[in-house]
Symmetry: C2
Subunit: 159 residues, 2 copies
């Protein structure tokens, strides 16, 4: 049996990856890939090589960028799935760098506790503007987070 939802999610994540690589030059420099999407959480990945810092571990700016893009992307995929045409902006973010990252890394984004796409879509439909908070982590190989990002995004419907 074909898992249609799974296949659809993979197609959408691949399209998002192409969109990011096409529209945001820095994602090409980072060698970003979309490596996981299940409808609720999105994982973006990057190799260490192009993303190192002076110490040879992952550059904080690369970690912050990948986490910000994962947060942006999990909202973008949800609006795309509803064929909603809107611009999504990050408003603020808080990043914790907990451990140096000496390997290829990935960032997994999901909605923050208490947030729901339903309330967001309702606000977007009613007022042309919706807000969402996301939580993103960069796990080490053992699952312990090396970095986390909590961010607020706003989506503005295109008229």
């Amino acid at each position: 049996m074909i898992d249609l939802a799974h296949a659809t999610h993979a197609v959408h994540a691949a399209a998002l990856e192409q969109e990011l690589l096409s529209d945001i030059p820095l994602t090409r420099a980072m060698a970003l890939k979309a490596t996981g999407y299940d409808g609720d959480s999105l994982t973006l990945s990057a190799p260490l090589g192009p993303n190192v810092n002076d110490k040879g571990c992952a550059f904080g700016g690369s970690l912050a960028s990948l986490m910000t893009l994962a947060g942006w992307g999990v909202i973008k995929l949800a609006t795309d799935a509803r064929a909603l045409d809107c611009d999504i902006y990050v408003q603020d973010s808080s990043v914790r760098y907990l451990a140096p990252v000496w390997e290829d890394f990935s960032a997994t984004a999901r909605l923050a506790d208490g947030e729901s796409f339903e309330a967001f879509f309702a606000a977007l439909a009613a007022r042309g503007k919706g807000r969402l908070r996301v939580h993103v982590t960069v796990p080490l190989a053992d699952g312990v987070p090396a970095a986390t990002l909590d961010a607020r995004f706003v989506a503005l419907a295109k008229r």
Copy 2:
């Protein structure tokens, strides 16, 4: 009369730029430049072109990266000036994106209110570890900040 302090600062900022471009590949992709240093504040700049997002304005990850590097750099230049050999890590940061940036941009970092290099150098000498908070802004052409970053850094003396 030659302003020796000014000339020395310019040499140090140029050396920092070369170090960043050499050690951190993403700074090359961003086309980062060190454009101002007076001993207290450091300004790093980047052209919009390689740093755009899907909307054609500055990518949040580029803004966060430039601000993080400016904060890191203002501490690095102070430790270099004292010939202190240490690794400097960002621990956490809080970023506010206040307005879209449609032009080439720069980030100016200085110590946060209440912070001093003297206390930092004393801690580094006594315990091999020092912490500093920095405040960074990306001003628009009219001086109003388009983005701000508040971050904590830790420096670890190399033994």
